[in-house]
Amino acid sequence: MARPAVAVLERHLTLYKRLWRASVFSSFVLPVLFLASIGLGVGGYVGEVGGVPYVEWIVPGVLASTAFQMAVGECTYSVLGEFKWSRQAHAMYATRVSVPDMIAGWLAYVVLRVEVAVVVFLAVVAAFGVLGSAWAVLTPLVAALLALSVAAPVTAFSASIDHDSYFALLFRFVMIPSTLFAGVFFPVEQLPLLVRPLAYVSPLWHGVELCRAATLGVAPPWPVWAHAGYLVVFAVAGVAWARVAFARRLRD
């Protein structure tokens, strides 16, 4: 990363210093609650999915969807606010920092945030003994790629809109359906054939399948390169879009 991008990352971390305790706590508590209620509670009725206990089956899904939701959440109000309310994007742009630096520093920050949450999550679930395979150590890597593939386009979206009411659309029509139907809680094979491609479109599904393959130590439904490649394409396209959106907003 070029130095101005590091400076941008530092600024976001300086702000994060003020709230990291709360955020680590919540990234610790949330998975515990999840595992307790859905994994053990619902799992008690469901029994096994795909030959493994439901709780083991659902852990990688929850992990990926945590990364996904954090990436979406971080990149909405915070990004719009830097243009519209605090005007920090404009302040940065008056310096040596360029648009690509700004985006690189921001995405690095989001990935770091996601990594902290994911590592805490892994530590918690490992303590419950629900990670079936040593390949689970690769899940933070998958989470990082998933976070990038989501954070980049959402950042671009947030930089393109004028009013925060658009976020309601994003949450209702993209984030919640993705979380519900991308193979986090049940296999996408349960979905009618016609609807299934919608799950395949979501980056979350690819992240979930890669994580699940890692924690269960099995092969994912598509080749690893296809899942990963799909996420890379999303990330690259998202960054390109973000560059256009930032530049349009910052200069006239």
């Binding site: 101005p4 300086t14 920092v97």
Partner: protein
């Protein structure tokens, strides 16, 4: 430092800057004076490389703002019209963070922040968040932040708008220090006293064009008389007085509450007024100011 020829900025059908020529030399304090909507801020935004010229030639520090934006911005200090300090950071963090954007090392950034805390007289507030600071403090911090990279050229867009008189004077004093250190200052203002205090040279803009250019003194000499006599006539309808003032001065201006008589010799004009048997209820003879030039050039119609 700045070189512009036929510079134009259009927004759709609207022409904000309609072809201006400019040259600002190193060490100069240069001002853009004009009513709201005259094109001052649009020009400033082009100079600070965040707005692309629609036509014409523009060179900043010898570079092309379209292709070398970041390289130019690295050597500029920008104090925008609206403060854009980081509200969630402390005063000191605002300075160090900004220093890092310009590529200073962490140690350099800390050192620079300490110097600037003194410059902006904000040492006691160093650990405070920006939010609760007064308007004057925020402005001083914004200017200090603009100095963090030791810029060759400092751009100030209406630096003292909205501040109380004490805060303005303190700010002027700080800006004057920068000027003494040889920093090139470019500012926009619609305060005449500010322009007279700070600027070696200025241009008056109106409707996107430059309507006059020169030092404050030379503008007064060219566009106004040396002195102005302000006459008030109690309840009399002022328009009726004007014919009686025929020939007393070069020019007469009627304001709602008083008549301005522009003359080389104010006292001489005043005795002529008295000799004609006119009895003003109050009289003020004063030196002509930049405000007289400004109102003469840009008219008295309110611009919003």
């Amino acid at each position: 430092m700045i070189h512009a020829r036929g510079l134009v900025k259009r927004f759709g059908d609207f022409t904000a800057v309609a072809g201006i020529d400019l040259d600002v030399a190193p060490g100069e304090a240069f001002g853009f004076l004009g009513p709201n909507g005259a094109g001052k801020s649009s020009t400033m935004r082009m100079i600070s490389c965040v707005s692309m010229p629609s036509a014409g030639e523009l060179r900043i520090l010898g570079m092309d703002p379209v292709r070398q934006g970041p390289a130019i911005r690295a050597r500029l200090g920008v104090c925008p019209q609206l403060d854009n300090l980081d509200p969630d950071l402390t005063v000191r963090e605002n300075l160090t963070t900004y220093a890092r954007y310009f590529g200073l090392s962490r140690a350099q950034a800390r050192e620079r922040a300490e110097e600037l805390l003194d410059f902006a007289q904000l040492r006691e507030k160093a650990g405070s968040r920006v939010e609760p600071l007064s308007g004057g403090m925020k402005r001083r911090l914004t200017i200090a932040r603009a100095m963090v990279n030791d810029p060759d050229l400092v751009l100030l867009d209406e630096p003292t708008t909205g501040l109380d008189p004490q805060a303005r004077h303190l700010l002027w004093e700080r800006l004057f220090r920068l000027k003494q250190r040889g920093v090139t200052l470019v500012l926009t203002t619609h305060y005449m006293d500010e322009a007279e205090q700070l600027c070696d040279r200025l241009v008056v803009m109106d409707g996107g064009r430059i309507v006059a250019e020169g030092s404050p003194r030379s503008l007064i000499e060219r566009y106004s008389s040396a002195e102005v006599v302000e006459l008030r006539f109690g309840d009399r309808v002022l328009r009726e007085v004007v014919p009686e003032l025929e020939g007393v001065a070069d020019r007469v201006d009627v304001l709602p509450d008083r008549i301005l008589v522009y003359a080389k010799d104010g006292d001489g004009a005043l005795s002529e007024v008295h000799r004609r048997g006119l009895a003003p209820s109050s009289v003020l003879v004063r030196r002509s100011s930049l405000e007289d030039v400004f109102l003469h050039l840009t008219g008295r119609t309110l611009v919003d």
